[in-house]
């Protein structure tokens, strides 16, 4: 069994993330499963950033605690992370630029910068040298690395070649000097699985779902969604715009959706704050929009490049007044893709806003995923009347009162139909009213849509046995670490299971109640300081969670941390 953790660290600007991605792809191509997370500061150069890359011969959804190989692009990385290394571990560092007082037996010095200059022609390629060295130490297939690098730099002249040569320099150096390093990772086979982040998955999901309009204002961690789609706008005939602010963003999205395009935006909590009034407008005018909210630690600016799950209750209650909405919080990278396509369907079928509650962790971590099954992606646009249907039906009323609460849409520029809607309370025709009776009817009509949405909300995931003494309850991106924590605890003989929510609103109260009824004790595990899921869950089911395992330091949970905290709680 292979279960190997690399860690790469250095300053911002040295290419930590890029090493992590290339390494990940290289092992994925050889049949492995990879999971990699990213830890970096809110600055462009300097400071310290690192990434863990876990390589396993079976599916993996979290990084693990011990590090087997530390790729140190600077001295600080060694100082900070030396202690995390397993006893058999290796530290790859630049032996000609960095010296250490005590020479550790784990030190595998490589002249990173020199080889970069000699082989690649530019010291910036020291990260490729390091990549080659890492691959060489574990005696993996260099050709796979060369392939990935070549594709990475395709279209940039000799850059690709130079990087491959730099990498080869590192590879050859370690094969020559450190051929007796103990741990090996052999190629398992050949695989065409993907390696991608949660942001990538959401962007691809949006394209698959036929999103035709994306407006966004840059904000970590969701900017990459905007940037990816901007890059594809030409080829996919979608409009991507970066307006003056997030208020403009949300109202443009509403305008585009009203006109008939599938439309979305992606932001973080701060930008979402500015969209909250627009969210209510979408609710009132029954306009289908999709909003990605990538959480990060708050309040205010908080820690811009870090992880938190602090916006759950805000997002569920955001905007004044009452209207139906759906809130989906993807649990994994794969889930992010399919839930995004579902978000567009829910939005259009129920003509109301749908929020994808993402977070910095899922947004930025890389995961090996089977190619998305595009045949699973259905495009359900709900009731949209054609010119003929409008003609058959007689007078068109945008907000017709129906049993399901759903009023058939017509798109503006449909002959025979005038599509009228209003931010004020309105009658079936969409004209503003003052009447108490119509108001009541309209509130009830909109409320009825929530029933329909609730029926489409997927059930929480149950991992482990249906009943267990201890039930962990999580939501969103903590699924991977939680699942692994359950594995560890069960292996130790504890009777634990996991109830995980990824479709959060309308709240799936029945299943949650049922599972909790089977547990002797239950613990929420949340990346926030108040236990928002516990609060919501109690409001919805009346059940009081036994305890809360909370973390709000801006860093994601690791499986071992959860295991440790749970042991403290139940001992």
């Amino acid at each position: 069994m292979v279960d190997f953790d690399f860690m790469v660290g250095g300053e911002a600007g040295q290419g930590v993330q890029s090493i992590s991605q290339v390494l990940g792809k290289t092992f994925t191509r050889g049949g492995y499963h990879v999971f990699a997370d990213q830890d970096y500061e809110s600055r462009i150069r300097g400071g310290h950033s690192f990434s863990k890359i876990r390589v396993k011969n079976e599916p993996v959804l979290a990084v693990a605690e011990p590090v087997h190989m530390l790729i140190a692009l600077n001295k600080e990385t060694v100082d900070l992370h030396r202690a995390e290394l397993v006893s058999q571990g290796a530290i790859v560092y630049d032996s000609e630029r960095v010296t250490f007082a005590v020479q550790d037996p784990l030190f595998y010095g490589v002249p990173l910068e020199r080889l970069a200059v000699e082989r690649g022609g530019n010291k910036i390629m020291m990260n490729s040298v390091a990549l080659g060295a890492a691959i060489g130490l574990v005696n993996y297939d260099f050709n796979l690395l060369a392939q990935v690098l070549t594709e990475q730099f395709a279209g940039r002249g000799t850059v690709a070649e130079n990087n491959v040569e730099a990498a080869r320099g590192g590879y050859q150096y370690v094969r020559e000097y450190y051929s007796k390093y103990g741990m090996e990772i052999k190629v398992m086979g050949s695989s065409r699985r993907m390696l991608l982040t949660g942001n990538d998955a959401i962007a691809l999901g949006a394209l698959a779902a036929g999103c035709k309009f994306m407006a966004g204002y840059p904000m970590t961690p969701s900017t990459p969604i905007l940037e990816y789609l901007a890059g594809k706008a030409g080829d996919f005939g979608l409009a991507v715009v970066q307006p003056e602010d997030e208020i403009s963003v949300i109202n443009m999205v509403i305008g585009a959706a009203f006109a008939g395009a599938r439309a979305m935006t992606a932001t973080s909590g701060g930008g979402f704050c500015l969209m909250v009034e627009g969210l209510g407008l979408a609710g009132m005018t029954e306009t289908p929009i999709v909003v990605v909210e990538g959480q990060r630690p708050g309040p205010a600016i908080g820690l811009p490049t870090r992880m938190e799950q602090g916006d759950l209750e805000f997002v569920i209650h955001a905007s004044h007044g009452e209207f139906p909405r759906a809130v989906l919080a993807p649990a994994t990278v794969e889930d992010a893709f399919y839930l995004t396509t579902k978000a567009f369907n829910l939005a259009e079928k129920y003509q109301t806003p749908v929020i994808i509650l993402n977070d910095h962790y899922l947004a930025t971590c890389y995961s090996t995923v089977d190619k998305f099954d595009l045949s699973r992606v259905n495009i359900e646009r709900g009731d949209i009347l054609s010119e003929e249907e409008v003609a058959k039906q007689g007078e068109y009323k945008r907000h017709q009162i129906t049993e399901s609460g759903i009023s058939p849409r017509a798109l503006p520029l449909t002959k025979g139909a005038l599509v009228v809607t209003d931010a004020d309370e309105h009658d079936e025709e969409g004209h503003l009213i003052e009447s108490a009776e119509i108001r009541t009817q309209m509130v009830l009509k909109r409320q009825r849509k929530e029933k329909g949405i609730k029926q489409e909300i997927g059930q929480p995931w149950l991992y482990g046995p249906r009943r267990a003494e201890t039930t962990l309850v999580g939501w969103g991106s903590t699924y991977g670490p939680l699942r692994e924590a359950v594995d560890i605890l069960r292996k130790e003989g504890q009777d634990v299971n996991l109830l995980h929510l990824n479709e959060l609103w309308p709240f799936p109260s029945e299943t949650v109640s049922e599972v909790l009824d089977g547990a002797k004790r239950s613990f929420v595990v949340e990346n926030n300081a108040t236990g928002q899921l516990a609060h919501l869950l109690r409001a919805e089911t009346g059940k009081k969670i036994t305890g809360k395992i909370l973390k709000f330091d801006g860093r994601p949970f690791s499986p071992m941390h959860i295991v440790g905290e749970l042991k403290k709680e139940v001992s």
């Binding site: 698959a208 036929g210 409009a239 305008g255 006109a259 407008l281 595009l374 009228v420 503003l432």
Partner: protein, 284 residues
């Protein structure tokens, strides 16, 4: 042939004597003159007395939040460029709450026409100062008199608008012409309309304006394509107030910028999940 009745709508809830009535008639006449059927027109309006206008005629209507007329109109226009998109809002919504959208709409040159019912006051909320209130004008929120206003005409010209006109609710025929030309213009057309509000603006009345407005069209030497000339007219306010097409220019619209080689309207494109298959390879 489109007729005035095609644009007959609900009964206005405006005060008797309000300048908005004239704007409503002028817009209806302009649309009839342009022979645009109501289903081809999308009026986007916001909250305020001005914003109620679309309810009093016919067409597709997207009534949005106070100040958000422009972004909503822009989104709709990008999604379906075949719609004739007209923004309808007050001075408060356009230059106050929506000031940032205004500023940036100017430079992007979206192909929409924006009608501003400029009564120099917040009317629906009962008479507070607006960004265009005459300096010194006393309102309930400015007992000491309003501060220095903005001049939307100069801002529009300097900010990059490709068509800037000023109309007056007291001259319907002229206003019909102006709105018609604004709609015909390809690019962002600002029609700032002097709109007396007899209820809350006791200073800038029909009579006050009548004494001051004059038509640029009557001055043969006036060339609205000359930016400096336009600018010198734009700063006029007080004894003489010019109305008419103040500035016009030709430049690419935002649509041209977004899809330089053209594109099927977004709303007409087929949605096909399998189209992304090649993209998946990027991540292998």
């Amino acid at each position: 042939m489109v007729k005035m009745e095609d644009y007959a709508g609900g009964t206005p809830a405006w005060c008797p004597g309000c300048g908005n009535f004239a704007i409503l008639v002028a817009l209806r006449r302009a649309l009839v003159d342009l022979d645009l059927e109501p289903y081809r027109v999308l009026m986007v309006s916001d909250i305020g007395q001005a914003g109620k206008l679309p309810h009093y005629t016919r067409g597709n209507v997207l009534n949005v939040l106070h100040g958000r007329t422009l972004p909503a109109a822009i989104g709709a226009k990008i999604a379906n460029p075949e719609l004739t998109v007209i923004g309808v809002a007050g001075d408060g919504g356009s230059y106050g709450e929506g000031g940032n959208h205004f500023l940036h709409a100017l430079r992007y040159n979206h192909d929409i026409t924006h009608l501003v019912h400029n009564n120099q006051v917040y009317a629906l909320t009962r008479g507070q100062t607006s960004p265009t209130s005459d300096p010194g004008y006393v309102t309930r929120t400015t007992p000491q008199g309003a501060p220095t206003p903005i001049n939307p005409i100069t801002l529009a010209i300097i900010g990059g608008a490709s068509w800037v006109g000023r109309g007056f609710a007291g001259d319907i025929n002229h206003l019909v012409q102006l709105i018609t030309r604004g709609i015909q213009h390809k690019g962002f057309a600002l029609v700032d309309i002097l709109q007396p509000c007899p209820t809350f603006n006791r200073k800038n009345t029909f009579a006050w304006y009548r004494e001051r407005v004059y038509k640029l069209e009557e001055d043969e030497t006036y060339d609205p394509t000359d930016k400096m000339m336009a600018f010198s007219k734009a700063v006029e306010w007080g004894d003489r107030i010019p109305i008419g097409v103040i500035y016009q220019a030709e430049r690419p619209t935002f649509g041209d910028y977004l899809f330089p080689s053209g594109a099927e309207p977004l709303v007409k494109q087929k949605l096909d999940p399998f189209s992304i298959a090649p993209l998946l390879e990027e991540f292998v």
